[in-house]
């Protein structure tokens, strides 16, 4: 069998071809250097290209996804019996945990009521459809059918029903590009439960990103849960990310969100709460006199802003005695 068994045609003027190769090579290197220095030019071109091709991508995706699922289903036919047994066992186990979770949720609600805890406000989100995926050696991205027209901006967190998927890094008018947690350029601050150790989740184009533990203090071991943190003002705190796996110094995170299965995602419009303009508003003495004391969760601080973080007084004894209904 011959794949190239044909007589090659000589290009006219071999020296000219080689000169052209050198010239084009220089142009390519210049594009690479310029692309780093002036990334916005290429980003704008890319965003316009995805805006133009967005509707077509949406149409093309449906049959391709159906085909992809059919291919997947062929592979799972042989393991469906074993999976069914495993799922039954898992389901029985989860039912027990559901009872525990409901009981704990109930207890948590009573504690929050007693402490007059400030409830976590769910940030507004835009639900977008995934219209493109790119799994390449140098980049792992998704394209969404929501852009600046829908309020999507660069840096916003993207999550599916299971957990954090990535962050928006490029926005067009009606499309946006997501840098996935697995991408080699992705760096996301996370917190490891239960030790609450801070770490950086660093993608390396493998399905399980690395945990960079250089900065944090505390234990981190296999099976620990990993959540997003508001540190640096990048992401909303508390989005589930995955569980720790591996041993020794090279710990990785098995992600909850399987990006290949994401059809719809939420783009979370997280804004760091602004610091109060009137210092009297946060003074413990004044606050205590004005209103019942509240227990608050940590407030994220924007990156690069060195400022005394606004603190809310925490006094459980007084809070327990206050009229908790007054603030609600």
């Amino acid at each position: 069998m011959s794949w190239s068994g044909v007589r090659p045609t000589r290009a006219r003027g071999v020296f000219g071809t080689r000169t052209s190769v050198i010239v084009c090579g220089i142009i390519a290197v210049a594009i690479a250097v310029f692309g780093k220095a002036e990334a916005s030019i290429f980003d704008t071109a890319r965003a316009k290209l995805s805006d133009m091709t967005g509707p077509a991508l949406l149409e093309v995706r449906a049959p391709l996804i159906a085909f992809e699922r059919w291919i997947d289903s062929v592979g799972t036919i042989f393991s469906v019996y074993r999976e069914n047994i495993e799922l039954r066992k898992e389901n029985a186990e989860l039912r027990k945990w559901q009872d525990v979770a409901l009981s704990l949720e109930n207890r948590m609600q009573r504690y929050e009521l007693l402490l007059n805890s400030v409830p976590d406000i769910a940030p507004p989100a835009v639900t977008a459809r995934v219209i493109g995926e790119s799994n390449r050696p140098f980049v792992r991205t998704m394209i969404l059918n929501a852009g600046t027209d829908q309020g999507v901006t660069k840096g916003q967190a993207v999550a599916n029903e299971r957990g954090l998927v990535g962050r928006i890094y490029l926005t067009g008018k009606s499309t946006s590009w997501v840098i996935l947690l697995t991408d080699v350029n992705s760096r996301v601050p996370v917190v490891i439960e239960p030790s609450m150790r801070r770490a950086i989740l660093a993608g390396d184009n493998t399905p399980a990103p690395l945990l960079d533990l250089d900065l944090g203090i505390g234990a981190a071991s296999t099976g620990d849960r990993v959540l997003s943190t508001g540190d640096g003002g990048l992401l909303p705190a508390g989005l589930p990310v995955g569980v720790v796996m591996g041993e020794g110094n090279e710990l990785r995170v098995s992600l909850f969100a399987a990006t290949a299965a994401s059809d719809y995602v939420r783009v979370v419009d997280y804004v760091v709460p602004p610091p109060p303009s009137d210092p009297a508003d946060v003074s413990p003495a004044v606050a205590g006199a004005k209103r019942p004391v509240a227990t608050a969760t940590a407030v994220a601080r924007p990156a690069g802003v060195i400022r005394k973080a606004p603190t809310l007084p925490v006094d459980t004894a007084r809070a327990a005695g206050s009229n908790v209904e007054e603030d609600r």
């Binding site: 069998m1 045609t9 290429f42 790119s134």
Partner: protein, 175 residues
């Protein structure tokens, strides 16, 4: 007169086929789907087409066309601009310098020829990433993409060979 016009049109269309096929493959591989559950990186499908036409019809696959296809690949895949453009040009240069040897390879041996070009393209993109971004990207996904692309080469080269014999080759000026 009409025959002359239609002959010119068919020659013109045939001349566009090499670049057109590479662009089509670039678009195809960047379609919004990740077969195999995203476990393997997508192949760099434009490279088999560039390599094939650089061997058999370099007059119809100019370095400037290769540059354009590379930039298109970078733009569509969302990767840093210029990396695959430089990589494709390196593979093109190899095909240009070793045309007699590489074009003479057939069967499974032809795979090694393409594998060498693919490896050179990847190495160029990899080193350029380090030079520009001062960071070594992960090697494993790149090598995996190399393997996947080399496996796709026969699937691309066979229809391109047919196109060359039936459509493009027939209008060759010096044939």
């Amino acid at each position: 007169m009409v025959d002359l016009l239609s002959l010119n049109f068919s020659r013109f269309s045939a001349a566009l086929l090499p670049v057109g096929s590479a662009i089509l493959l670039t678009i195809l591989v960047n379609l919004p789907v990740s077969l195999m559950g995203g476990l393997f990186p997508a192949p760099i499908l434009a490279l088999p087409a560039i390599y094939f036409w650089a061997l058999v019809r370099p007059d119809l696959m100019s370095p400037f066309a290769v540059l354009f296809i590379g930039v298109l690949e970078d733009l569509l895949s969302g990767g840093p601009p210029g990396l695959w453009a430089a990589g494709f040009l390196a593979a093109y240069a190899l095909a240009d310098r070793q045309r007699d040897i590489l074009a003479g390879l057939s069967g499974a041996i032809a795979l090694f020829g393409f594998a060498a070009a693919m490896l050179l393209a990847s190495a160029t993109a990899y080193i350029l990433t380090w030079i520009v971004y001062l960071r070594w990207p992960a090697l494993a996904p790149l090598l995996l993409a190399n393997v996947v692309t080399v496996m796709f080469y026969p699937l691309i080269a066979l229809p391109l060979g047919w196109l060359h014999r039936r459509v493009v080759g027939a209008t060759r000026g010096d044939a």
